[in-house]
Symmetry: D2
Subunit: 290 residues, 4 copies
């Protein structure tokens, strides 16, 4: 993502056995593929093998479609259940950002896009309030206002509208950048592995509402933030990244909110970058980060 050079990112997971690396490496080597990154991991608990390999596009004599076609043969030779995908970095990742009123994460992401650090195409920002419309539009990005009524029917309709807007963008990532609504189960399912949330606590501590208030009440000495994939169970999805910052008895809840923002911003930005660089492989409720 940070490189202008076009690359293919191959990700694969399968039951571990001998010879997988040789199979893939030989296939790539015989095609003349120049591997610039290669990572392997084998999980002894589940006996699952993970790999991510990045190949220079120009080193291969064919395009990504032909690569996929030929790679099917490789996966067949591996036998059994194989999960894999190949992504061409030539296409800018498409992202939709969901917000409420707090703008620090949105502001941070837009700054990274603006500076060229994060080479993504923000297709839309969708908010259940309008506070963040001006900053969004100042960056030339469409802002959609979808109010969320309290009554169940109104809320269901709002989620329907949200779904249409998101799906219209066909995004590689749906970022819940301090979006203060709990996604219904069917949206969690549809966006599985693509919806990233930033939770303002060091999970599994302080699940749910007002985690800084909970942290203040408990008297912890560090507060944190967690970027995780959204699943049907609240704040319980696979964790992508976490970090913490020190607090002390001088810090009020408001101070914790302020200090925590700095952690939320970097944790979300790192998590999103890794997700879009296809560095995150999910297996069960855990992640491998290559």
């Amino acid at each position: 993502m940070s490189s202008k050079e076009r690359r293919y990112v191959i990700r694969l997971g399968c039951p571990d056995r001998t010879g997988i690396v040789a199979e893939i490496a030989t296939f790539l080597s015989e095609a003349g593929g120049w591997i610039v990154e290669a990572d392997y991991h084998s999980d002894p608990d589940t006996n699952w093998f993970f790999t991510r390999q990045v190949v220079r596009a120009e080193s291969l004599p064919y395009d990504v479609h032909e690569l996929c076609r030929r790679f099917v043969e490789v996966t067949r030779r591996l036998g059994g259940r194989v999960e894999w995908d190949i992504v061409d970095t030539g296409a800018k990742p498409r992202v939709v950002i969901l917000v409420t009123k707090d703008g620090h994460c949105l502001y941070d992401l837009l700054g990274r896009v603006h500076s060229g650090e994060l080479e993504i195409d923000v297709k839309a920002v969708i908010g259940n309030h309008t506070d963040l419309a001006p900053i969004t539009r100042a960056h030339g990005i469409p802002f959609h206002h979808v109010p969320f009524p309290i009554d169940p029917d109104g809320k269901a309709a709002a989620f329907g509208q949200l779904r249409q807007l998101v799906d219209a963008a066909n995004p590689d990532a749906v970022v819940l950048a301090r979006f203060m609504q709990v996604l219904p189960t069917e949206l969690c399912a549809e966006w599985a592995g693509r919806a990233l949330n930033i939770h303002h606590s060091f999970l599994p501590s302080f699940v749910g509402a007002r985690p800084y208030h909970q942290a203040h009440k408990r008297g912890v000495k560090l507060i944190g933030a967690t970027c995780h994939y959204v699943t049907a169970e609240l704040d319980a999805g696979p964790i992508v990244e976490q970090d913490v910052i020190r607090v002390d008895h001088n810090d009020s809840v408001a101070d914790m909110v302020r200090k925590g923002r700095d952690i939320e911003k970097v944790v979300l930005a790192r998590g999103l970058r890794w997700h879009l660089e296809r560095r995150v492989l999910v297996h069960g409720n855990k992640t491998v980060i290559f």
Copy 2:
């Protein structure tokens, strides 16, 4: 504690109002007291005022008993409920350490005592297993073996024996250095504010048994340790210190245990130092660390 110079440590808590600092500072100033450390904190939620002041013993014209006698007058002028104590650093703090089999925290504390970093008098190490007897005795410290049977009566008797051994030492701190028994309510009460535990998780995450297994299962990206005062509710007492260390998908439970040890050791050592330097003021279930 780290200084050879004799000092008096004054700690005081009372409802906040104007003039408290002036009252104390004027009292000390008029007696010629040389203040080398002074800390204040006011908690807006509970309207409670905290202070800790350290005075050079030789700067006062009288001893600690006379200081206490005169300080009573100061606290009377403050009116209402006042909690305070004054400690003479001339006396080495007395410590009892409780252990089971894991020796890293004990080893670490003994190393700090041996190097002179931690100027304490370890009166005894008490273990429900004998694994750590040799290292304890190699330091010239008595080791007591108190086996803990599973049956309730036997266990109660063991706690009775433990209590006698601890109380005989009249310790300033009872350190649960990976002691794998839950203290009964009456011991928690008796040793309130003196019993320090090291829990091998970033509380309130992963309360109770096998926290590294819980952390591994949840797939967190940081593991931690917490030093807290022991209270009747398991792992829920006032937190003194916490810290974390990064882990990733390569880390097995055994790796987490190993990495976590380095955090447990420093978190316990810091917490114990602060406790013995009288830097920790407990109010409700929270601590102020000066």
Copy 3:
């Protein structure tokens, strides 16, 4: 700064002796002053005493001018050399920001101002390039372009223009937010104690140009950033704040630049906040942060 409540911040430094705290506390107490923050430090090497006290404005029966007039008497009674000031938090701090092309620090500061986290009045942004004019103006802040030619006369003239623009704003802080010009000695002197720089290394490592290149060449395992007051000697002024982030052999110079930005932003933001909250007391080439 983060509180709407009006307060007076008293800062004082003088040779240490007994009775200073009593003198100040009694003065404030007799005037009915409600102290909300009080910090003391005594430096044994220089025998210098530092204090910062924050008083609720409404608790005093007179305004800040009368407070200053009366405080003069207190300082006289302390005798000898006394450095002090009193600031009324009712007035929003005035800030000028100097930039070149890299916008991450500016972007970050503007985001904090926009969200209300940093309650300051950014009087102007001045750049020797125009890259950051649009984002500045999008926030309704004047942007001045002062090109810096290479020839000494042209550069001197540019610094003259810069000085005029800055001084016209009479700022409480001049922030060098990745401003790529070395201030001449006379500007360092004029803005002493007000000019804050963010240097993209963990000083004193990697002084001067291209610190990330230097860090990459040396093979360090952590990179850092340093917020310091600007003095005549390059990157050698009193340090206000520092932080680091882990890097490894996978990180190219470009990766270090990217990761380093996240540290630069928070270190500068923290340093500026502390400076404006009058938490930083400079003595010699070192700082006390209350």
Copy 4:
């Protein structure tokens, strides 16, 4: 090292080109080798390729000598300059530790050996003072006292004696655990890649003597420690690991020394572990840590 299972660790470095991974992976696959860890890195600046692979010993039909013999063929096919080695984890690593008076690092390492965390064979501890003889011998390890006179001839003779004692142990690592003598050039050369030093600063800041004094004088906000390979230029060898801890204006030099110890211990322990697990690949003056 932490596993009882016998493994072969293959490390290889060579100019990067396509097909290296395939070559090695195919070789291992055809022999039935079960790879449990595989890491790759390609340095774009030097075009150097690094890999480390760990194979289950029992998965291969021959022993480590035959593996080496056959691996020579693989390296020949790679062509050009190839650096490689293969280590059998069945043999416990042999370590010699050099000390002076400060015992915290020695104490820490012995604690890790004693608990089984660090499965090494400490052949000898050699000190230029006798302070640490008792703790060494309490662990059943030989302690040799080699006094270092100030006169050049006496010092040269002492280094001669040191060399004999070390070489007699044929160690996998020579650990300078706060050894306060600068190794002569010829010893640096002889022990190149095996001599690990712990320096008590965040290098390249504060090279040489009394780094905590230097840090205190400069007023830094973080202090650190660095584990590096010893080379002829003082404190300038390839860095293996670094870490930092926060300090503030309250910290005297003695406080920094105390806080720094906790960082020195873990940084040295991590560096030594990685070295002995053959995770560190040196190239030029930089390290790759797998």
